[in-house]
Symmetry: none
DNA sequence: GCTATTGAGGGAATGAAATTGCGTTTTTGA
DNA sequence: TCAAAAACGCAATTTCATTCCCTCAATAGC
């Protein structure tokens, strides 16, 4: 189990800001030698505190400015239905987030498309053909006054 | 300006899955030489399509494991009501995202708390006292089979 | 109080990867 | 069809990740 001391917190903070910082630079910033620093990072990864690394994209810069949240209800509530739906969502590049939630519907998606026509394609070709999908409610994002995760 | 062809899409998809994949491996997966691949990645960074890289942390391991999406309807639909609500959300640390959406409600929030009691505090003390808030619908996130923005 | 053991750190060597320069190929547009 | 521009691949160079081994400090047992 990885510790939760000051240095590890610094490491996590730095890697959250820049996940591609070199180990040399990271070690320098937290005041360790490269080898000691690398060991700590690997410990954090092994302990499951760091679950991965991702590039952060600006979708508007690549023509994906049409953002929607979509509530999805499944017709069946079996484990198989969920797995099948989740697999379909994982393969769809438009789907940026897929949350399994409580309430009247099972899933909340964040879907990012270029425009309305391309959203329509996603809606009919992907969602419409996905297994077990029963109810779809779309909320179009007009703006995000606050978004700390973008 | 960076292109938006098949290869760049593959590059972006790979980097959103694993932002620390080596350039050699990435080049291999998209079918380019390392140098050509690196140039494309750098172009995407320079064009602002890739805005950065982040380590993905296990939030439960850090004491913010209670995640909810909250639909909020306002009692008034004036500009002043919206501004006041957005200001309140901006000041609340629990609110990670605030989207202005179309539909039967005006806002969709993502709220991250340590646990249910701390969520209750947010619900009553922050949302309950915010101006013009009329309808509140909470969806508790039980899991996120896919989340490329975390 | 002393010593064995364990855990963490530092430094240097090694191997791998990023990066760059350059010639070649492909694409584009007149 | 041909010239210019863009993109590519190869190879050399630099930088970095990773490993090995030694040292130091804290801890537990005697």
């Amino acid at each position: 189990m990885a510790k939760n001391d000051r240095i590890n917190q610094q490491i996590l903070q730095q890697l959250t800001r820049d996940g591609r910082i070199s180990n040399l630079e990271l070690a320098d910033r937290v005041g360790l030698s490269p080898s000691a620093c690398l060991r700590r990072v690997q410990d954090l990864e092994r302990a499951g505190v760091i679950t991965g690394y991702r590039a952060v994209l600006n979708r508007e810069a690549m023509g994906a400015g049409f953002v929607t949240y979509i509530g999805v209800g499944l017709g069946e509530h079996t484990k198989e239905a969920q797995k099948a739906f989740e697999r379909a969502m994982d393969e769809a590049v438009e789907v940026v987030e897929c949350h399994n939630i409580t309430g009247t519907i099972e899933y909340l998606l964040r879907v990012e498309c270029a425009d309305l026509p391309s959203y329509k394609r996603f809606h009919t070709d992907i969602l419409g053909t996905s297994p077990f999908v029963a109810a779809i409610t779309t909320y179009v994002v007009m703006g995000s006054p606050k978004d700390l995760r973008s």
